[in-house]
Amino acid sequence: MKGLGIIKGIGVTLKHIIDTYVVDFKAGRKRYYTEEGVRQRMTPDTKGIFTVNYPEERIPSPENFRFVPFLVYDEQDGEKDIRCTACGICSKVCPTQCIWITRAEDPETGKPQKAPAEFYIDIDLCMNCGYCAEYCPFDAIKMDHDYEQATYKRQETNVHDMERLLKPASYYAEIRPLHYAQEQQQRAEEEAKRAARRR
């Protein structure tokens, strides 16, 4: 019969519409505007409507999610202990060359120090590849989860300087708990090894 294929197809559309209401009815209020509801829409057996009402609802970022880098500092007695040693590896691996580092110098002798004096990332250029975080030997630069970076004046705001880039290790631990725990463990092991050697 001519038209049967179309009718069958419309049947599928109808099923999708009905599914939406059935799922809504079963799940009740918790389907929308709750994290549980958003997560349910991401499971392999999700049915019905699957769109997310941004910004009221947000898709939870997985730990590996990466969006523009930031610099990590440890908090020590109220002072910022910047992990970065200005070794320059991140600026060398960066595919778009969007990282600029000025190495600090000893004001008296002029010798280079293991710290950055200035650190810039041009996030207009940054393509969020994550190489800097991947190859940093000091866990000093990490990829952020904060993807809401829209601005009106990119010339003024989109070159991030050190002040903007620095974020505490506690923030890092919050967005990437597994990675943080893993690194802390590694650090502790290395510390123990070093202590053993010293003895």
Binding site: G5, G9, P44, D45, K92, P95, Q97, E134, D161
Partner: protein, 582 residues
């Protein structure tokens, strides 16, 4: 160089035995293939096609050897019955590079020779339409030549010296002022210039051929560049007789960014995230091809561990599935079923992208592969998630899509018998992937020239025999089903272990030489041709882009069809402009 140690592949020996007079094996260290004199090129290619069965010319490109004053044209051929690739080269003086055009032997060379002319300035004698294809007419020079320089550039090679240890950020546009960064050819004045194609358009209207018997006249119609059905900025100049297409020319290059020049400035590892941006739907497949090619150069030590091979296959096949879902959805958009099928397709795609995001960190720009493996292992619980997807969700959803669209009378009516490409034409026009297989040529690199661990899996090569729009639509269903089969085997067989062969590194001791690696991407054969001169940066980096080369056959498909079908035909090829224009 050492002649005794040069080991020829068996297919190269066969060709060499046949034509001992004018072919030599490439003697340079790390190079493969056979070198032929340009004078004998046509004769050789004809014999290769007619007698030896090398009926597919898959890639044409050039390399500028500035120091040797040589321009080399590199051809890659294969037999559509399977087997490894054959590499033929011909060398000409750089000062006046003229090579006979192969369009008479392999029609598929048409666009690629134009590209080589555009970017490298190699003249192909006898080419029917040798003009720029990616650049515009007001562009000065040939950008892939080694002595061509950008109007503004930071440095010869990356990494740039001014980034560390005394880096001070500044915006590139401060050094790159508008109007100062434009150069025109000597005889070119942008004020008085009339675009050539428009001239052609007006010529067409001037020479109106009025068909008295039918009371119709010829008309030139531009579809695009801004047109919702061209999947980006892409233009088709169609010459119509009434409503029938009598000639058609695709115009592209609106999204051109010279990916290959950027690639030659980058180091080898920097290119990986750039490949994501070629075909931005299939970044995992793009990564795969590039990683395989560079691993060929790097040698045994960079053989990925078992687990990495499985992860690579899983990611590549998931990419194929989501790409084909999108291809089906947007094809229906082109037919006028506005966005309901697309949205159902996007739903499945989003679930697959969730997997990519959790594993790689990004939904589309995955940058997941490294030389010798993948960057990190799958996160915890991901295997179970993938298993659930490939055993439960995806088979169910593809069946639902089947019920939803395949029998639909409108799809059948618009698709059957429209835009036919016969098997001979498809092979001759260098079509690849679903376009080739829908024309009845069961050629799939995963089976014909297996890479990675595809030889371990049980799957069928999807093939359809009519070569029309409807078959190109159906073959995507077949391929999704086969990919699901591969995924089920892969997720059952995935071992534990490392995912990277060596410690993570960003600088590689790259031996001199060349490599051509190819994968069966969702859109067709995705090939990378990389030449290394032993430094950190590739000397030549070329991408054989399947979307671009599949468009060579667009004119053939459209001839004699109605203008309304152009949109359906283009949709059935499934192009991505990021890859077409590069």
């Amino acid at each position: 160089m050492n002649e005794e140690t040069k080991v020829l592949a068996s297919n190269e020996t066969a060709v060499l035995e046949r034509f001992p007079e004018y072919i030599q094996p490439d003697q340079r260290e790390g190079y493969q293939g056979l070198v032929v004199d340009p004078a004998n090129l046509l004769e050789l290619m004809k014999a290769l096609r007619d007698d030896l069965g090398y009926d597919q010319l898959t890639s044409v490109t050039g390399v500028d050897y500035l120091d040797d004053e040589l321009m080399e044209v590199v051809y890659h051929l294969y037999k559509s019955t399977g087997g490894p690739i054959l590499e033929i080269k011909t060398q000409v003086a750089r000062s006046n590079p003229e090579v006979p055009s192969l369009v008479g032997v392999y029609r598929g060379a048409a666009f690629q020779e134009r590209e080589a002319w555009d970017l490298l300035g190699i003249k192909f004698e006898g080419h029917p339409n040798l003009k720029r294809i990616l650049m515009w007419e007001g562009f000065a020079g040939h950008p892939l030549r080694k002595d061509w320089e950008e109007a503004y550039y930071g440095d010869e090679k990356k990494p740039y010296d001014d980034r560390w240890p005394e880096g001070k950020a500044r915006k590139a546009e401060a050094d790159n002022k508008y109007h100062e960064n434009v150069r025109y050819p000597d005889d070119f004045n942008p004020e008085t210039w009339i675009p050539g194609e428009h001239e052609l358009l007006f010529k067409g209207t001037k020479h109106l051929q009025v068909d008295e018997s039918m009371d119709t006249e010829q008309l030139v119609v531009n579809l695009g560049p801004q047109h919702p059905s061209t999947h980006g900025v892409f233009r088709m100049v169609a010459k119509l007789q009434g409503e029938t297409v009598i000639d058609l020319e695709p115009v592209m290059g609106y999204l051109h960014r010279n990916h290959e020049k950027i690639g030659e400035k980058n180091t080898f590892s920097m290119n990986m995230p750039y490949t994501d941006r070629l075909d931005y739907f299939c970044s995992m497949s793009n990564n795969f091809g590039y990683a395989l090619t560079v691993e060929k150069l790097l040698g045994e030590k960079y053989q990925p561990p078992e687990r990495a091979e499985y992860i690579r296959v899983i990611m590549a096949e998931l990419t194929r599935i989501q790409n084909h879902f999108m291809a089906i959805g947007f094809f229906l958009n082109d037919l006028g079923a506005y966005f309901t099928p697309s949205l159902y397709a996007i739903k499945e795609r989003e679930l697959i992208l969730d997997i990519f995001e959790a594993a790689a960190g990004s939904r589309m720009m995955c940058n997941y592969f490294r030389f010798g493996g993948v960057v990190r292992d799958l996160p915890e619980g991901m295997e179970e998630h993938i298993r659930e997807m490939v055993y439960e969700r995806l088979p169910r959803q593809i069946d639902e899509f089947d019920r939803y669209l395949v029998q639909n009378e409108i799809v059948v009516g618009r698709g059957k018998g429209v835009g036919v490409l016969t098997p001979e034409q498809a092979i001759g026009l260098s079509a690849a992937g679903p376009v080739l297989r829908a024309s009845g040529v069961p050629y799939d690199i995963r089976r014909a020239d297996p890479y990675s661990i595809y030889d371990r899996f049980d799957f069928d090569v999807a093939v359809r025999y009519h070569g029309d729009v409807y078959d190109r639509f159906l073959i995507r269903y077949d391929e999704i089903r086969q990919s699901i089969r591969i995924l089920q085997q892969a997720i059952d067989g995935i071992p534990k272990g490392d995912v990277l062969a060596n410690r993570p590194e960003y600088r590689f001791r790259m031996p001199k030489g060349e490599a051509y690696g190819r994968v069966e991407g969702p859109k067709g054969e995705l090939g990378y041709y990389v030449v290394s001169d032993g430094t950190d940066n590739p000397y030549r980096y070329h991408v054989r882009a399947p979307s671009f080369i599949n468009l060579t056959g667009l004119r053939q498909m459209c001839l004699g069809e109605k203008v309304a079908d152009l949109v359906a035909i283009l949709g059935s090829i499934d192009i991505v402009l990021g890859e077409v224009d590069r």
